[in-house]
């Protein structure tokens, strides 16, 4: 094992016979130096950001315009990217363009292919963005707009984007190995196994809660069931088209798919008005839950070309398209927000949307929009195998996550623009609203929110406009976001008559993202399990062994399926009690990934610059460990799973048949069962993550004492290709690109990216 000295002595910027493979460091520095016009520009950005922040944080009017959130976010991102990401690059990662990336030295034409940074940015973003950043902020709106906005923006700059960037970099230096594999390499078998168990359990929780979001959005909604259900035949058609009619015409079939999708949304409105639609598609949440479980199993064992791959194309298309559309709509419509900056729920533990105080549950609830542990699995594994040049990693890792955070801010603005009374009627558990308009109105008006006086007509009229029978207790975030979106979008395009379309458009794309996560997640979990079982019975590792893949898939589907069913039947409102598990799981994975990065850089001999990793790691670890600790041990039954478990057990023992809105012995028994499961899962997370974090921190201290440690990087190899580092090439990079273009014209065989062909 070599020690952690810089291994690049033998690398050169100008290998013989080819143009330079890297920009001249002196030129790079000169280009980055702040000149008076640049200083003026950055001062302007900082001023606009500061003004926006003060409007959000200090100015108190009746309402606040949503556009300030967009400005505050974008200005902060720009400053974070220009200054902090560059600081991390200079102090910690020190990418070296003379060094070949795995895409170059392990080039295989399939997984390892040097990919243009702009394409890879889109590809990476499509892989990390999903329903998470759309759901968390909606629920977090309960605490007012200020804490959520601060955490989404500050959190991403100091924690989330740092994690994505570092994991991408660390994995790229290790041939694109996964974070789990890196943990095993660094920590040995015991720590690696703890990381593996934590990852599988976390994955199952994430799938279950996301599926629960879909179930809640589709329950009793004929329109939703029809349009989302139609995605399956549409995907099958696309799969068959690509297989038998026109192989490889992916963009073409995706476009056809999107058109069919829009037709399905419009058709859903008509179907909902028919008798047979009401007869056959008016499904209970329980039936939809079972449908998703069966679907999850079938989708995971079917060949990918038939369902998975085409749906992934659709989902990518919709993702980039709708997010761009949402950004434009918010800028055009500039919605007014009448939520207070800080609500009473920030300091109490009995919020109707989710329980627990601001610290730590705000962070746990927002999760993906600010810091997402799940990205560690994308930033390690898929993307690093495609990176062309090392100096592109800040753009891809840090920049990609900033985009995700921007999605979260837009979802937040959309949710905040929903009328407060409607927001609480939609997001309170059925136990509170009794699932009736009257119950919801009575409950919301009893909350004592300033300026909120809900009228029954508001609920019935909104439901009618979006083509639903009821919007009471439509928990899970997706329906609320859809209401917010349709409220914004119809002002821009189509008027009130289009509200139903926009509402179901939003439901459809969230469901599409989530269903993609459900079967991709099931497959990932299944491969992990197969790999683990392979230790005992090696045949499980053979991907072609059908029975083995059925067994592992069934086990994983049973895992998330049972949690899903518990969530659906939970008397206290599935999302309201289960969502914290999702957030805790995600954030624990993040602290785990950051802990592994901490160890990697400690072993590379870094000292004070380790604070870049240590601060967000400690913060995320404290937040989530404290959060799960409260969920397990808090004596307040509103917060603690176990306290609630004891409370309902005691009530049952006393022969009570009703407690705090939960009526009947079977329902109370369900509470006892669910809280026991929730406690158990919290304990598993906590123990596994603690093992990994403690081991990483301890080993990092050892490395700090020794001034470094073993180096698990792949050996450095000379790069023989060039590409610009940032989105816009510098003058020097432009010139180098030209030289390389003429070089490739003479040596077309050297061009791994077939650049010339792409534009022929």
């Amino acid at each position: 094992m070599s020690t952690a000295t810089e291994p690049s002595r033998s690398l050169t910027r100008t290998p013989e016979g080819i143009p330079p493979v890297a920009a001249d460091p002196e030129n790079v520095e000169r280009h980055q130096r702040l000149t008076p016009p640049k200083i003026a520009l950055w001062v302007a950005v900082a001023l606009l950001g500061a003004v926006s922040w003060s409007i959000i944080a200090i100015v108190r009017g009746e309402t606040i315009n949503g556009i300030w959130f967009v400005f505050a976010a974008v200005c902060s991102y720009l400053i974070g990217y220009r200054f902090y990401a560059r600081y991390i690059t200079a102090r910690l990662t020190r990418p070296d363009d003379r060094r070949a990336t795995p895409a170059e030295y392990q080039y295989d034409g399939h997984d390892f292919v040097p990919t243009d940074r702009r394409i890879l940015f889109g590809h990476h973003f499509a892989a990390i963005a999903g329903a998470g950043p759309l759901v968390g902020p909606v629920l977090a709106a309960q605490m007012g707009y200020l804490p959520g906005t601060i955490w989404i923006i500050v959190g991403v700059i100091l924690a989330g984007a740092v994690q994505d960037y570092l994991v991408l970099f660390v994995s790229m230096r290790r041939g694109g190995r996964s974070i789990g594999q890196i943990a095993k390499d660094e920590l040995g078998r015991f720590g690696g196994t703890a990381a593996l168990i934590a990852t599988i359990v976390i994955l199952l929780i994430i799938i279950a809660i996301l599926a629960l979001v879909v179930v809640n959005a589709l329950g009793e909604s004929v329109w939703g069931v029809f349009s989302v259900g139609m995605t399956i035949p549409i995907a099958l058609f696309m799969g068959l088209y690509l297989r038998f009619l026109r192989p490889g015409k992916v963009a073409e079939v995706s476009l056809i798919g999107v058109v069919l999708l829009l037709a399905a949304i419009i058709g859903g409105g008509q179907v909902a008005a028919t008798e047979w639609g009401q007869e056959f598609l008016h499904l209970s949440r329980f039936s939809i839950g079972w449908a998703i479980i069966i679907y999850g199993f079938v989708a995971a064992v079917l060949p990918v070309w038939l369902l998975l791959a085409p749906r992934d194309y659709l989902s990518t298309f919709m993702k980039v398209g709708t997010i761009a559309m949402l950004a434009v709509a918010i800028i055009v419509v500039r919605p007014e927000i009448n939520v207070p900056p800080l609500t009473q729920w920030a300091f109490r533990s009995d919020g109707p949307v989710f329980t627990g105080g601001l610290f730590p549950f705000l962070f746990v609830t927002i999760a993906c929009g600010a810091l997402s542990g799940f990205h560690a699995t994308i930033a390690s594994g898929t993307t690093p195998k495609l990176v062309e040049k090392e100096r592109q990693t800040p753009l891809l890792g840090y920049g990609g996550m900033l985009m995700e955070s921007f999605v979260a801010i837009m979802a937040f603005v959309a949710a905040l623009s929903v009328d407060q009374g409607i927001y609480y009627a939609m997001n309170s558990a059925p136990a509170a609203t009794h699932n009736t308009v009257e119950g919801a109105v009575a409950f919301v008006n009893s909350l004592g929110l300033t300026g909120v006086h809900l009228q029954p007509e508001q609920l019935t009229e909104t439901a009618r406009l979006v083509g639903e029978t009821s919007i009471v207790s439509r928990t899970g975030g997706a329906p609320t976001l859809a209401i917010g979106l349709s409220t914004i979008m119809h002002q821009w395009f189509g008027g009130p008559a289009m509200m139903g379309f926009w509402y179901h458009f939003a439901i459809m794309f969230e469901a599409l993202f989530i269903l993609t996560s459900v079967d991709a997640g099931t497959r990932v979990a299944r491969f992990m399990l197969a790999d683990a079982l392979g230790n005992v019975y090696p045949k499980f590792r053979h991907a072609d062994w059908k029975l083995g893949s059925y067994i592992t898939t069934a086990l994983m589907v049973a895992g998330w399926g049972s949690i899903l069913l518990l969530g659906i039947t939970d008397p206290l409102g599935g999302i309201n009690t289960f969502f914290p598990l999702f957030g805790v799981a995600n954030q624990l994975l993040a602290s785990l990934a950051l802990a592994v990065c901490l160890l990697v850089f400690a072993r590379r001999g870094h000292r004070w610059s380790l604070l870049i990793v240590a601060v967000p790691m400690v913060f995320a670890a404290v937040v989530t460990i404290y959060g799960s600790f409260l969920k397990i041990f808090s004596p307040d039954p509103k917060v603690g799973y176990w306290a609630n478990n004891r409370r309902y057990s005691a009530a049952l023992d006393q022969g009570l048949t009703e407690l705090a809105g939960v009526k009947g012995v079977p329902q109370m028994e369900a509470v006892v069962r669910n809280t026991a499961v929730q406690t158990g899962l919290s304990v598993v997370f906590l123990v596994c993550a603690l093992i990994v974090i403690v081991m990483c921190v301890w080993q990092s201290i050892v490395a700090l004492r020794d001034g470094g440690g073993k180096n698990t990087e792949d050996p450095a190899q000379q790069s023989r290709t060039f590409a610009p580092a940032g989105m816009i090439p510098t003058p020097e990079e432009k010139e180098l690109e030209q030289r390389w273009a003429s070089y490739y014209e003479e040596h077309p065989g050297e061009d791994l990216e077939h650049r010339a062909k792409a534009h022929a």
Binding site: Y107, D108, G109, H110, D111, V113, D116, R118, I119, G122, H123, A126, A127, I128, A129, G130, A131, G132, I206, L242, P247, G248, V250, A251, P303, V304, W305, L308, A309, Y313, S315, T316, F317, V320, S372, F374, H375, T377, I378, G381, T382, S517, A520, R523, V524, F527, A543, D544, N586, A741, G749, D751, L752, E753, H754, R755, A756, K757, A758, H759
Partner: protein, 72 residues
């Protein structure tokens, strides 16, 4: 990638924008996998390359054996 020479007229600009959009969309969706395969095959292959149809068949089979993670 805008390697083409600047040509006059809105039609040419439109055509160029279309090509760039196609290049980007194909790249993000992974629709250019066959081209990547051909480039690789030209460098390292020995026998005849697969046809586009055969390639995609093999490619999806390969994807079915691997993990293609998507986030929440």
């Amino acid at each position: 990638m805008t390697a083409t020479a600047p040509s006059p007229g809105p039609a040419a600009a439109l055509a160029r924008a279309w090509r760039t959009a196609r290049w980007f969309i194909d790249g993000v969706l992974g629709a250019n996998a066959y081209q990547h395969y051909l480039v690789h095959h030209r460098r390292h292959g020995h026998d005849e390359p697969l046809s586009e149809r055969e390639f995609w068949k093999a490619e999806y089979a390969r994807q079915g054996r691997a993990v293609n993670a998507r986030c929440c």
